[in-house]
């Protein structure tokens, strides 16, 4: 499980590991076609179409030219394959560029230029400033005397600050050109970019050939940039696709939206319907053949048929009906989905001016899900807040500073104390200035700026600087601070790093003047206060912490301890050992740190403010109105979290809101607490009260482990929850719980600790914020500010859902329409499987004639963005899946049946007797279909832009032009037909009749429903379009009105009205039952309560 890298030894490691050729491509030229085809055919729909196309090659059964299926099939495959191929070619080009880049490699002390792809494991790579790192290297030398270098890792983890990297101490002072003997023992490649637990041993002639531990600090990883360092060189340890970057580059699992799943289900239903039709017609056909056709001498049915004779007619019908499942739907959906994603990218109103970032849809396939979100799980820091930390208050030795002014830096008392050199204050400031990993950078003008990985640290160092304790310079291990004009130097002996488990960080420094060794610590109160010197009273500090937390401030406790020389030496050895362990290093280091961090003298508490982002309260209010449940998951402490939750409208203050606390340290306590909260929740849910539960990480751990079922029930009852002190994996678990109850979850976060939650959720949204781009990279969507979430969901998500719902059902409508006509025709053609339409028409019907108008439905807007924003409740229709479900689909099915009857009956009656010529008749029926579908699209379009008009009416004109062209070809099977028809007055009167008879009832029904059985969408449409003041959010709440007037709307809103959205039949279809209490909860809180508790469990898959 380990790899041994022999430095600069070509013989030993030459062929063991792969070279540095990067390959992100999926295909090669040879395997492109088979691999791509294989991938495409692994989808059920494609297999089905292939089967149909193959059956068509059998001339006995094919109703039309096989080209009518092969053409579109090949076209669709070619489109997908071309897209894949083009993407892959671009990947190849960028790989090629990276692979052929010239880099310097040191061999036998001589620098050589080679291509990046020829780097081998063990080679020493030499980089200059601003070079990109070609593979994962272990540093062995830099231009810096202290062995430091700076790298920018933004390509790796998105963090834009510079990171320091240091050469292992064994290599310190060795001229890298001489370095050619040694071995690095390192783990096999993995994707953890924060860990590298390895060892280095130099071979003689180097004297210092002890085992030297290596950490991630000693590496520079592929795709980072070398900055502020003249040169650096390192040994390649991982190359090619085995680098940390290469390993973490996985192909993300494609996410399927709820809409996609519904479409798949409907496709399945249609497929079954088709089979039934085929069987029925097949039997009827065989019966007719035996009873009637044998008498018809002109058909010359042979008396003895081949063995498969019984199958022939059913198979013919299978082929005739194969167009029921529209071959174009996949392509159309892909096209419009990428357009939705583009609209998100283009949206100027989601452009963050401050950071200059646009919204970005990394996953183009799941926009519809945005409109169906039911739960939002949000991080706090950096997501709701700005993550711009400002030091506000402090409590030093029991004295509160900054309480009056609100800003400790302006508190005269504190300033006086600083000037007078009060020892408590000075020590407090020293810890503020030194206990960190901040790098001061002195600009040419002499001013000092700080580069920090943690915003808290930066805030503290800045504040200290304001209070005359200026952190001036960091020179390797020597820290210089300037206090009131006097310089002091400290040597950093060890850094005990911050981890989210330890929740504190410490440094061990040696005062260069006095030689005293001091441990400086800062951390969360519960990580510091228990470690206080038993003699010290910590009560005043915990009070301070509470007080600050109530104000919504982040608190840090600062502490120190003077170490004895031998105590430190002893500990230092163990620490080193722990640091060089290869297994469980993190855990062992933590344990060792624990041994030093005790007996603290608590110096004080610093309170840091993190401001709320603009528009957060409004966004949360709006989205909650839209029926979305909000959960806040944060690593912060309870009070801070509650404070933030209050200030951003997540929970309402008493008496309107009620917070239910779940706490406890033991199983029993948690269980009791949980039961109690659940009981309260059940009883209070009937009151119009905001009830939220609050749980901390510890209790959550117990709840998740032992009382998962109870907790899940609670989770579903509660519209709001605040989880504090939770770890990244707990966040992900919470997402999983809600998701497993089939709710659509959206997780939003900004930092690395949110990545797991973001990946777990149905939709992950990342805020490209100050904590780096890590979350944004893992997410499906990235936005600049939290407030854009409102627009993302209400505008983009909602439109996407509405449009896809229309597009998919319409695709089925048009396919069914032409298919029904074929079926009807078979009844008057002796159930023999004759196709009324010719091959050209059948092929073009789905691919040309009807696909263009439907594509522009991707531009349709049922309500203006403004109206949606003002009436966010309308999102309910999307959440509940009201626009695409079996009952709306039944409506479309009925419509296509009705239209098919209209077209068919009118055609055969108007073109009876002497005009019953087959080719003419088929074109009459086809034109009827085209006219009707154009009017259906027009009727269902809510807003006509130029493009819609162009597509709908232009397409109609296009139909005639195409057919005129085809009619000029003698071999087309419709020679001169279209000219002939267009000259007949009866043709045009027939068309008009079809449109009037087909659209009349549809329009009447729509109008009736629109006016007298209006859905909320209709009402808003009317309000919006007929002028009239659109009421603002405040007015929309139920207002006291005379009873008489109230009666009607009430009736409409009561459960009866839970159906009338789009189609009359909407009811408890399999899909909506679940939702009836899920998102339906806001609608009928009263009725669903009892059902809810009893039925929740069967909805939870994991129970």
């Amino acid at each position: 499980m380990k790899r041994y890298v022999y430095i600069n030894d070509d013989e030993l490691s030459q062929d063991l590991y792969c070279d540095n050729r990067i390959s992100n491509t999926k295909y090669t030229i040879l395997n492109f076609l088979p691999k791509n085809l294989w991938e495409q055919f692994s989808r059920f729909m494609n297999q089905y179409f292939l089967l149909i196309a193959c059956l068509q090659l059998w001339p006995l059964i094919t109703p039309v030219n096989p080209a009518s299926t092969w053409g579109p099939l090949i076209f669709i495959f070619a489109v997908s394959a071309t897209k894949e191929g083009w993407d892959d070619y671009n990947r190849y080009l960028s790989d090629k560029k990276a692979n052929e880049k010239e880099v310097w490699v040191v061999k036998q002390g001589i620098k050589k230029h080679i291509q990046a792809q020829d780097i081998r494991v063990g080679n020493i790579v030499w980089l200059r400033e601003n070079d990109e790192v070609p593979c994962d290297l272990v540093l062995v030398g830099t231009s810096d005397l202290q062995g430091l270098c700076y790298v920018e890792t933004s390509a790796l983890d998105g963090e834009t600050d510079l990171k320091t990297r240091v050469i292992p101490h064994a290599c310190m002072g060795i001229d890298f050109e001489l370095l050619h003997k040694g071995v690095i023992e390192c783990p096999n490649p993995d994707k953890d970019i924060r860990r590298f637990d390895a060892n280095l041993r130099l071979f003689p002639p180097f004297i210092d050939n002890d085992l030297c531990p290596l950490t991630i600090k000693n590496t520079i990883l592929q795709s980072c940039y070398l900055r502020n360092t003249e040169w650096a060189c390192g040994v390649a340890v991982y190359t090619g696709n085995e680098t940390k970057l290469g390993m973490s580059r996985g192909v993300p699992e494609p996410k399927l939206t709820a809409v996609d799943m519904m479409i798949d289900k409907l496709t399945g239903a249609i497929f079954i319907f088709q089979i039934v039709v085929v069987i029925v017609l097949g039997i009827a056909g065989n019966v007719w053949k035996d009873t009637e056709a044998r008498k018809q001498w002109y058909v010359q049915y042979p008396n003895e048929g081949p063995w498969y004779e019984l199958l022939v007619i059913p198979l013919r019908f299978e082929l005739l009906c194969s167009i029921m499942i529209p071959i174009s739907i996949k392509v159309s959906l892909d096209l419009v989905k990428s357009l939705y994603a583009k609209f998100i990218d283009w949206d100027c109103e989601m452009f963050d001016i401050e950071t200059g970032t646009r919204a970005n849809a990394a996953n183009t396939a799941i926009s519809e899900d945005l409109g169906q979100v039911e739960y939002i799980l949000t991080d706090k820091t950096g997501t709701l807040t700005e993550n711009k930390m400002v030091f506000k208050r402090c409590c030093i030795g029991g004295i509160f500073y900054g309480n009056e002014t609100g800003d400790a830096l302006k508190d005269l008392e504190l300033l006086d104390a600083v000037v007078s050199g009060s020892p408590d204050v000075v020590r407090f400031l020293t810890v503020m200035a030194l206990c960190n990993t901040v790098i001061p950078i002195r600009s040419k003008s002499g001013s000092i700026s700080y580069k920090a990985q943690s915003q808290d640290e930066e805030a503290l160092v800045r504040a200290a600087a304001c209070l005359h304790m200026i952190f001036v310079n960091k020179n390797a291990n020597i820290l210089e601070i300037n206090y009131n004009g006097t310089m002091a130097q400290y040597e950093v002996l060890d850094t005990l790093e911050f981890t989210s488990d330890r929740k504190r960080m410490s440094v061990v420094v040696k005062d260069c003047k006095s030689g005293k060794i001091i441990l400086l610590s800062k951390g969360a109160d519960e990580a510091i206060l228990p470690c206080a010197n038993p003699g010290q009273q910590t009560r005043s500090f915990s009070e301070a912490v509470d007080q600050y937390a109530q104000l919504g401030l982040r608190t840090l406790c600062l502490a120190w301890r003077v170490l004895e020389e031998d105590e430190y030496q002893e500990w230092s050895l163990i620490f080193k050992e722990a640091n060089s362990s290869l297994v469980d290093r993190e855990w062992r280091v933590a344990e060792v740190c624990q041994r030093l961090e005790h007996g603290f003298e608590i110096l004080g508490v610093a309170a840091i403010e993190d401001r709320l982002q603009d528009g957060v309260p409004e966004t949360i209010t709006t989205l909650r109105k839209a029926g979305i449940n909000f959960w806040m998951l944060t690593g912060d402490k309870q009070n801070t979290a509650l404070q933030i939750a209050l200030s951003c409208n997540l929970v309402s203050p008493e008496p309107k809101g009620q917070l239910l606390l779940i706490n406890g340290k033991t199983d029993d306590e948690v269980c009791r607490s949980l039961e109690r909260v659940l009981l309260t929740m059940r009883t209070t849910n009937s009151e119009p009260k905001d009830v939220a539960f609050v749980i901390d990480g510890w209790a959550l751990e117990i709840a998740l482990r032992h009382y998962r079922k109870t907790f899940t029930e609670l989770a579903l009852l509660s519209r709001t929850a605040i989880c504090c002190r939770v770890t990244p994996s707990q966040k992900a678990q919470l997402v999983y719980i809600i998701k497993s109850c089939e709710y659509k979850t959206l997780a939003i976060g900004d930092g690395g600790n949110d990545v797991r939650m973001i990946q777990q959720a149905d939709i992950g949204v990342g805020i490209s914020g100050r904590e780096g781009l890590q979350a944004a990279r893992a997410a499906d969507y990235s936005i600049g500010k939290f407030r854009f979430l409102k627009r993302l969901i209400l505008v983009h998500g909602r439109y996407s859902y509405n449009r896809t719902a229309f597009l998919s059902q319409y695709s089925f409508y048009k396919s069914l329409l032409i298919c029904f006509i074929q079926i009807f025709f078979s009844f008057i053609s002796g159930v023999s499987g004759t196709s009324l339409f010719n091959s050209v028409s059948l092929m073009a019907y789905n691919t040309f004639y009807t696909s263009i108008p439907v594509l522009v439905s991707a531009l349709d807007k049922d309500l203006s963005e403004r109206t949606v924003m003002q009436h966010p409740q309308i999102l309910f229709y999307c959440q509940a899946g009201r626009l695409l479900n079996p009952s709306t689909f039944a409506g479309w099915f009925g419509r296509s049946l009705f239209h098919a009857i209209v077209v068919f009956l009118i055609t055969i009656h108007a073109y009876a007797y002497e005009r019953s010529e087959m080719e003419e008749m088929s074109m009459v029926a086809l034109s009827g279909c085209i006219w009707l579908q154009a009017f259906v699209v027009a009727l269902e379009t809510n807003s006509f832009t130029v493009l819609q008009h162009l597509a709908i009416w232009g397409n109609l004109a296009g139909f005639y032009i195409i057919n005129w062209i085809v009619s000029t070809l003698p071999s087309s099977g419709m020679h001169t037909i279209m000219f002939r028809l267009c000259r007949q007055p009866s043709y045009w009167t027939t068309m008009f009749l079809m449109v009037a008879a087909g659209m009349g009832p549809v329009l009447a029904l729509k109008y009736f429903r629109y006016t007298y059985r209006s859905s909320k969408i209709n009402i808003l449409q009317q309000a919006e379009r007929l002028g009239g003041p659109i009421l603002t959010l405040g007015n929309i709440e139920p207002q006291p009105r005379s009873l008489e007037k109230e009666a009607t709307p009430l009736l409409l809103i009561q459960p009866k009205n839970r159906s009338p959205v789009h189609e009359p039949l909407l009811s408890d279809s399999p899909n909506t039952t679940r939702r009836s209490f899920g998102s339906g909860t806001p609608f009928d809180f009263f009725q669903s309560q009892s059902r809810l508790s009893s039925s929740y469990s069967r909805n939870c898959k994991d129970n």
């Binding site: 100027c348 409004e618 053609s829 010529e917 449409q1021 379009r1025 139920p1038 009105r1041 809180f1085």
Partner: protein, 346 residues
């Protein structure tokens, strides 16, 4: 209808976007705010639309009905009457027996004055020219190129006879209708024009001028009529008409034209040679004499359909009008949209 200039001025904070280039169409497209027309189904509109549809449909219906009624049509079913009484019980035997004379005379009384040209159709009922086996059994290439084209597998089972290809091949040609009619009024024969009864495009482009019937109806099983081997296919107009297959099981095909007027109460004598076998499958044969109008032959369907669509439109518009007057719905009244979803708005 109102023009909505887009909704770029969204709410509150979001109004501050990057300086927009408002006029640019592409920009408007990317912001999804192209000017759009949003029609509303207001009662006024809908009532007007239905009323208009009615107002258009009823006159059109009346016109079509009038056109259809102006057509004079004489239909005479002769297949049963032309069988001599001894064979009434066994029609199939009669029609298959070539030794019996098939001639038969019909007397058609002209009810109204018929203006030339008078079209003569023969009508077949319960005859499935659209049967899949039948409709596919032809070779368009062979019809155009004749013997030069020899992959005529689609013509099965009438592809070869005695090892020689058949021109024209296939079931359709083989079952060519072969009843003939001759007309006379009083003592004088009526002149029937049998030229130009097929589509000109068919004669020019689909049936070869150099293609002569070959080996046709030479098999043991005789289907329908035979063809003169000395006349090219492009001149065999009966065949061309027959090969335009009908989509319905009951169809008429043009036989010829009488190019002189027939007066009311004239009696036209038709000598039918009743050769075609429709007896074995219960089909009917009819002879039709018909004039034509701008809308075609006698077909009341369009007129009646227009009248019913028109009147139901008017009816609907009246119903909607009544509904609207009785139960006026104030449009855009957000009272109706008050969301009393508990727990949401609170």
């Amino acid at each position: 209808m109102d023009e909505d200039g887009g909704s770029s001025s969204a709410v509150g904070i979001e109004a501050q976007s990057i300086p927009p280039r408002q006029s640019n169409t592409l920009y408007l497209f990317t912001q999804q705010s192209l000017p759009a027309c949003k029609p509303v189904l207001t009662p006024a509109w809908v009532i007007t639309i239905y009323f208009l549809i009615g107002a258009i449909c009823i006159p059109v219906g009346l016109l079509s009905l009038d056109a259809s009624r102006s057509v004079v049509e004489i239909t005479d079913r002769y297949d049963t009457d032309c069988i001599p009484p001894p064979f009434k019980s066994n029609k199939v035997a009669y029609i298959k027996d070539s030794s019996i004379s098939k001639n038969c005379s019909r007397f058609l009384k002209v009810p109204k004055h018929m203006k030339a040209p008078i079209y003569i159709y023969y009508q077949l009922d319960n005859y499935y020219q659209n049967h899949r086996r039948y409709v596919k059994s032809r070779s368009d290439k062979q019809l155009l190129h004749g013997l030069k084209y020899n992959s005529t597998s689609s013509c099965k089972p009438e592809e070869y006879n005695n090892g020689l290809p058949i021109v024209p091949c296939g079931l359709i040609a083989w079952s060519l209708f072969n009843d003939t009619y001759s007309f006379s009024r009083g003592t004088a024969a009526l002149k029937v024009n049998r030229k130009d009864i097929s589509w000109k495009s068919d004669r020019d482009h689909k049936f070869g001028k150099q293609v002569y019937p070959f080996n046709f109806q030479n098999g043991s099983l005789i289907g329908g009529g035979s063809l003169d081997p000395n006349v090219p296919l492009s001149d065999q107009e009966d065949l061309i008409v027959w090969m335009r297959t009908a989509a319905l099981p009951s169809f008429r095909k043009l036989y010829g034209r009488i190019e002189e007027d027939l007066d009311a109460d004239d009696v036209v004598v038709v000598d039918v040679s009743n050769n075609y076998n429709t007896y074995s499958f219960g089909g009917k044969k009819k002879l039709v004499l018909s004039t034509s109008s701008w809308l075609g032959g006698k077909n009341d369907f369009l007129g009646m359909a227009y009248l019913s669509v028109g009147s139901s439109s008017i009816l609907l518009s009246l119903i909607f009008l009544l509904l609207h007057v009785k139960n006026p719905r104030p449009y855009g009244d957000t009272n109706y949209s008050s969301w009393n979803w508990k727990g949401v708005s609170s």
